[in-house]
């Protein structure tokens, strides 16, 4: 392919260098492909190519019954499977007007927040690794392991949990599990400080993240960003606060927002979310009410004809499900996901233009995309 020449004066003809980053590249976090057009080391323009992990989950779901879909949702954002489960089950519950018992809602809140911490652990590790600080990566994975152990004890799986049922939970929490969760909160609090010690005031980290990939609040809204990238730009939008689901209306927590909208602010927002999540987990675990774990659910799940959209705050942003039921069959007529990673990825091109190659990986990391969710 001929590339257009960029003229710097009459003396030299310089060509843009087209470089293909991904889908097999160590820091595109899966199979993202970015075609960069470089002027020296500066990115003139970039094309983001996705679709390498497309499995047709939305279409598949139209041929599965309502319960079977839960396990398909595991495979979207595979680092936050429980959150996906909760989002889907709540959407169906909304469609069927099922009342979920309070105990189940509390456990869902705990699992969602544990999942947020696990997902952020993975993010802080890989993001720091992309910028060259490799020790944080292993520290963060060490703590993520503790969360996976908790999940394993709860539902038997460590990655794709299938941990929810429409109307409640598949199983009650094992005896003593809540104590272990509280213990984990104790450990994790100090570990977050440890990550921050390595990064937050590190001069190199500051130079690599401050002022990189600035996006203003209105621009972020216009691009459809959500979650930490949106809050990093100073927009205090958090579905847990604005449209509470599960048991978030009974929890006290703050929504951290940034001001500059750069990579550093997005980093700070997520680091604070670690602490807020721990706060929520502590409250929810100490206040788990007694009672049933599943609401009144018909034996055959067949929602009435109609459509509904329900969104939750996944670790990466607004995770929404739009489901149409024809009221006759035992599978959805249309199943559509609004994945936060996909929408946040729209911002990548605008963010990396004008930055250097080294910043590209920092920015991919700061958006925290999971390709399983982007492509579905």
């Amino acid at each position: 392919m001929e590339t257009p020449a960029v003229h710097h004066g009459a003396m030299f003809d310089t060509n843009e260098l087209v470089i293909n980053m991904g889908p097999q590249h160590p820091s595109t976090h899966g199979v993202l492909r970015v075609v960069l057009r470089l002027d020296g080391e500066k990115v003139v323009d970039a094309d983001v190519v996705i679709g390498y992990l497309h499995r047709g989950i939305e279409k598949l779901s139209e041929n599965r019954n309502w319960t079977q879909i839960i396990l398909l949702t595991d495979r979207m954002d595979y680092v936050a499977a429980a959150t996906n489960n909760v989002g889907y089950c709540e959407t169906v519950e909304k469609l069927m007007s099922i009342e979920v018992p309070r105990r189940a809602r509390y456990v869902r809140t705990i699992l969602c927040e544990l999942q947020r911490i696990a997902s952020h652990c993975l993010w802080v590790g890989t993001h720091a690794m992309d910028i060259g600080a490799m020790t944080v990566f292993l520290y963060a994975f060490r703590e993520r392991e503790l969360i996976l152990d908790l999940f394993e004890e709860f539902c038997g799986a460590r990655l794709t949990y299938n941990s929810m049922r429409i109307g409640g939970l598949p199983l009650d929490i094992p005896p003593g599990w809540d104590k272990k969760v509280l213990e984990f909160c104790m450990i994790m609090g100090s570990k977050v400080d440890e990550y921050e010690e390595l990064l937050t005031h590190n001069r190199i980290w500051l130079e690599r993240t401050k002022g990189i990939g600035i996006i203003s609040g209105p621009d972020a809204v216009a691009l459809g960003l959500s979650g930490p990238p949106l809050r990093g730009s100073g927009v205090p939008r958090d579905i847990r606060k604005d449209e509470p689901y599960a048991a978030y209306d009974e929890m006290a927590f703050d929504v951290p927002v940034g001001s500059a909208g750069d990579t550093y602010d997005r980093y700070l927002v997520r680091m604070e979310e670690f602490r807020q999540s721990l706060r929520i987990i502590r409250q929810a675990t100490e206040g788990i009410p007694e009672g049933p774990i599943v609401g009144k659910v018909p034996r055959l799940i067949k929602p009435p004809a109609g459509e509904t959209y329900h969104a939750i705050e996944s670790p990466k942003g607004e995770l929404g499900y739009f489901i149409v039921s024809d009221g006759k069959s035992t599978n959805p007529y249309r199943f559509r996901v609004r994945p936060p990673s996909f929408c946040n990825l729209q911002g990548l091109r605008a963010l990396i233009r004008g930055h250097l190659v080294a910043d590209v990986v920092a920015l991919i990391g700061s958006l925290d995309v999971v390709l399983g969710e982007v492509d579905r």
């Binding site: 590249h25 160590p26 720091a128």
Partner: protein, 340 residues
């Protein structure tokens, strides 16, 4: 006959082998130390506590397929790893591991050669290694290595300036370019030059990190950005040569830092007779211990710090280190003249 040929040859054999062994074990040390920093165990399978890992690595690399990309410039592609490895090894010719000692009733100096322009020799030979990296990037005929080799050459050349300027300050102190004389000058002065020239030492060490492509200046091989940098297209033993060259250069920088700033083979407080008890550790051991501390710091830095960006690296080099080095040199010169 024996003094002229046999002993120097023996010394070359010993130094070369010790260096190569040291280099391979540096790799293991790095893996182990980083693993401990990251609360892991590191290599544990080959031999007790993984101490035979370098041998396994070497065997693996030797028997691996040696790929030359079809569109690569074959001769240059083959020559590049050699050009980077050889200078890294021949620098050891002038590094003094110890003073002249008596072995079997014969005086043996613990260095291969005491050249009167030793420091100049080190600087000039070490800079030849840059060509290996430039040529590797060019000959691979691939975009990522090309970008990396451009980065590398810019980085190495600009940090070379800062490092060499700090060396001049040391030369002013020692009034000699010979490595042995520099150590002796520190003995006579009764103080390690690191305490007289702290600025020069800091600049030298930072520059040393950059010149050996080590974190936080490991841009030319930033695997997160450039998928491995200039050796992306290399495999097998040729890749290993680049790898060994990097570690050999680390040892060179540590040895030079030890010699110039920390008294080389001298024990701490060499003029204080009360500390004679320290002489139970032989002089070459002191040299190794000091160098080892530097190598450890190299690894420690890598485990701790993120990586600088290319433009930031150049800014630090040209706008901070080089002016500082020049200022340090001028001040050293003025003070020298005033004292004299």
């Amino acid at each position: 006959m024996i003094d002229q040929f046999v002993i120097p040859l023996l010394k070359i054999v010993v130094v070369l082998n010790a260096t190569l062994l040291g280099v391979t074990y540096m790799v293991l040390l790095e893996r182990k130390v980083i693993a401990w920093a990251q609360s892991r165990l590191g290599p544990m399978r080959v031999g007790p506590y993984g101490i035979l890992q370098p041998i396994a690595d070497a065997v693996k690399l030797v028997i691996k397929e040696d790929i030359t990309p079809v569109r690569a410039d074959k001769w240059v592609f083959t020559a590049a790893p050699i050009i980077s490895m050889v200078p890294a090894l021949i620098v050891y010719a002038v590094i003094p591991f110890g003073p002249t000692i008596h072995l079997f009733g014969r005086p043996v100096s613990l260095y291969i050669a005491d050249v009167n322009v030793g420091l100049l020799y080190i600087v000039s030979v070490a800079s030849v290694g840059v060509y290996g990296i430039i040529l590797a990037g060019y000959a691979s005929n691939s975009k990522y290595p090309l970008l990396a080799s451009l980065r590398a050459s810019a980085q190495l050349i600009s940090y070379e300036v800062a490092v060499t300027l700090t060396l001049v300050s040391v030369i002013l102190m020692a009034r000699s370019l010979s490595m042995v004389s520099i150590v002796n000058a520190q003995y006579n002065a009764g103080v390690w030059f690191a305490f007289v020239q702290p600025v020069a030492f800091v600049i030298f060490f930072i520059g040393g990190l950059a010149e050996t492509n080590r974190a936080p200046f490991d841009l030319p091989e930033a695997e997160q950005e450039l998928t491995g940098g200039f050796h992306t297209e290399y495999s097998g033993m040729r890749f290993a040569l680049f790898f060994l060259a990097e570690y050999a250069n680390m040892i060179v920088v540590s040895s030079v830092a030890t010699t110039l700033f920390f008294g080389g083979w001298l024990r701490p407080f060499p003029n204080v007779a009360a500390l004679h008890v320290l002489d139970v550790i032989p002089s070459w051991m002191w040299f190794l211990i000091k160098s080892f501390v530097f190598l450890y710091i190299f690894i420690w830095v890598r485990a701790t710090l993120p990586r600088y960006r290319y433009d930031q690296l150049m800014r630090i080099g040209w706008k901070l280190l080089i002016p500082l080095a020049i200022a340090n040199l001028v001040v050293t010169g003025i003070v020298k003249v005033l004292i004299a």
